[in-house]
Amino acid sequence: MIRRKIANVTMLALMWVAAAVVLLPLVLILVHLIREGASSINWDFFTKVQSAPGTTGGGMSNAIVGTLILLLIASAIGLPVGIAAGIYLAENRTARLASIVRFLADVLNGVPSIVTGIFAWQVMVKPVGHFSAWAGGVALGTMMIPLSARTTEEMIRTVPNSLREAALALGYSRWRTSLTIVVRTALPGIVTGALVSLARVAGETAPLLFTALGNIFFSVNPSKVIAALPLNIYSFAISPYDDWHRLAWAASLVLIALVLLISIAARYAVRPKFGKAVD
């Protein structure tokens, strides 16, 4: 009796410690970012472009807009392909092609991001002879494909097969069942997966180094080079100026806030209307 209680309390305590250890890095990062970066976040940060090296003031409007444009291009390329592939994988789980696609998606997932960057450079930059936001978007979009495909597959698999059968028994064709019943039921999960992949590539720096390149001026032209928050964080952090270091911290904080904001907004948009499915 006593032994059982001691074991119970010990195990419970260990679990609390484990949970705390998992949360600790996140909390430390956030605290540090806020302490170092919050003071530099002001109106100028969002409205002005960076100032000349060594001078104070300036902001990151170009990098914020640049990151948003890059994420838009990446989503437009990566999500349709990734989600469609995920639906295919889930609905034909035993097909031979499906296991090949699944394996290749896992391989693509493991490709280092800088290699993806070289690939995008090869197909998007070299032929036209200049860097562009298109190339950066293609690099990030390529990374999103396997991420969103695998999460979409997992989410669709959580939909009970009984729901699929119910739709078929009502006279739904297979594709109608997939799209209007199964995918619709799994949609909140699929969107969450898409956002995770978006958040994951939002902070990627390496694939942008020789695709989007970065831009010290404000630009929204996807055919030209474009600034991005991760690129700015990198170049500002390695600069010798204290003021730029502070801006790098602020940019990191904004990048995290941006990802969080996109996540919350989209989750709200596709929240389950009537609560979760049973079974």
Partner: protein
């Protein structure tokens, strides 16, 4: 809104007791109580209905497993046929062959003939989707679509109709009400048709699934252990509903529960190891079966 087709009296009176206990207990409901406890003595099979579904030499397989073995059986119009037998005897598989649901399982195969009003359901040029619209099905676990409200759940079958055949909004509303009344659920949900279907209780969800099948206006309804996941009270409601449904539909019900088969069905089929052992009027099958294996099963000596 008026209901063009008068609903069977027992259906209306059985949902009433929940709302108004004393007023709702009509004579019809009393009569239903009677049959729900004892085997009915009257045998409608004495006046055989027209055969609507005739199965000949049916074999069904899962990969290499031979689940239904050379079964021939006829189902008659506006009768309730129960299929009983121990777990794994192939009764659900037989049921799923009847509306071509069996083939939706990977590596499943069917051979044999199933004639629906004289037309082979497995013949060339037969669209399984059309088959399933004519022969509706309700499963063991309630399966309301979680993203749809109550009304849209019942109307789900209309969504996939071809544009020219799909009724208008008012007509859909009318048929949703008719289906919900037919499933004895209307009084319980009429004030919350726009709320989510998964907020309903398990028994209500199952009746919603029956309403959803009724809305397609099938001529045959297949019930695959429809009360297996329900409590006794909900089970009783479904059983009363099944009994009422036979006024308009042919019902085939698979059940584990022999008392249930005795209460709701006109004829009962007993299956064992994928074979049809015997089919007879329910009263006869339970009291004087012709096959010793049936007798062993219904007297509880195995299964």
């Amino acid at each position: 809104m008026t209901n063009p087709e008068p609903m069977p009296a027992p259906v209306d009176s059985m949902s009433a007791p929940l709302a108004a206990p004393p007023a709702g207990t009509g004579g019809a409901a009393g009569a239903l109580k009677g049959i729900s406890t004892t085997v009915r003595q009257t045998q409608p099979a004495a006046e055989p209905g027209k055969v609507v579904l005739e199965v000949t030499a049916l074999n069904a397989y899962f990969d290499t497993q031979h689940a239904v073995r050379n079964v021939s059986i006829a189902f008659r119009e506006r009768e309730v046929t129960a299929i009983i037998g121990p777990s794994g005897c192939g009764k659900s598989t037989l049921l799923r062959c009847l509306n071509r649901m069996h083939e939706t399982v990977p590596r499943a195969r069917v051979t044999g003939r199933i004639e629906f009003h004289g037309q082979d359901l497995y013949g060339p040029g037969i669209n399984p989707i059309e088959v399933r619209r004519h022969i509706g099905m309700v499963f063991q676990r309630p399966t309301p679509f979680p993203t749809l409200n109550i009304r849209d759940n019942v109307a789900a079958g209309f969504r996939v109709m071809k544009r020219g055949r799909r009724p208008g909004r008012a007509e859909i509303d009318r048929r949703v009400e008719e289906a919900l009344r037919g499933a004895a659920l209307w009084d319980e949900v009429k004030d919350r048709l726009r709320t989510g279907a998964i907020a309903l209780s398990g028994g209500q969800q199952q009746r919603l699934c029956i309403a959803r099948a009724l809305a397609n206006e099938p001529s045959i309804i297949l019930l695959d252990e429809p009360t297996a996941s329900l409590d006794p009270l909900s089970t009783q409601k479904i059983e009363e509903l099944v009994y009422a449904l036979r006024k308009r539909f042919t019902v085939i019900i698979v059940t584990h529960n022999m008392q249930q088969a005795a209460r709701v069905s006109d004829r009962t089929a007993f299956m064992l190891n994928g074979e049809l052992v015997e089919i007879a009027p329910t009263g006869k099958l339970f009291t004087a079966p012709s096959d010793p294996r049936t007798e062993a099963y219904v007297t509880g000596r195995f299964g």
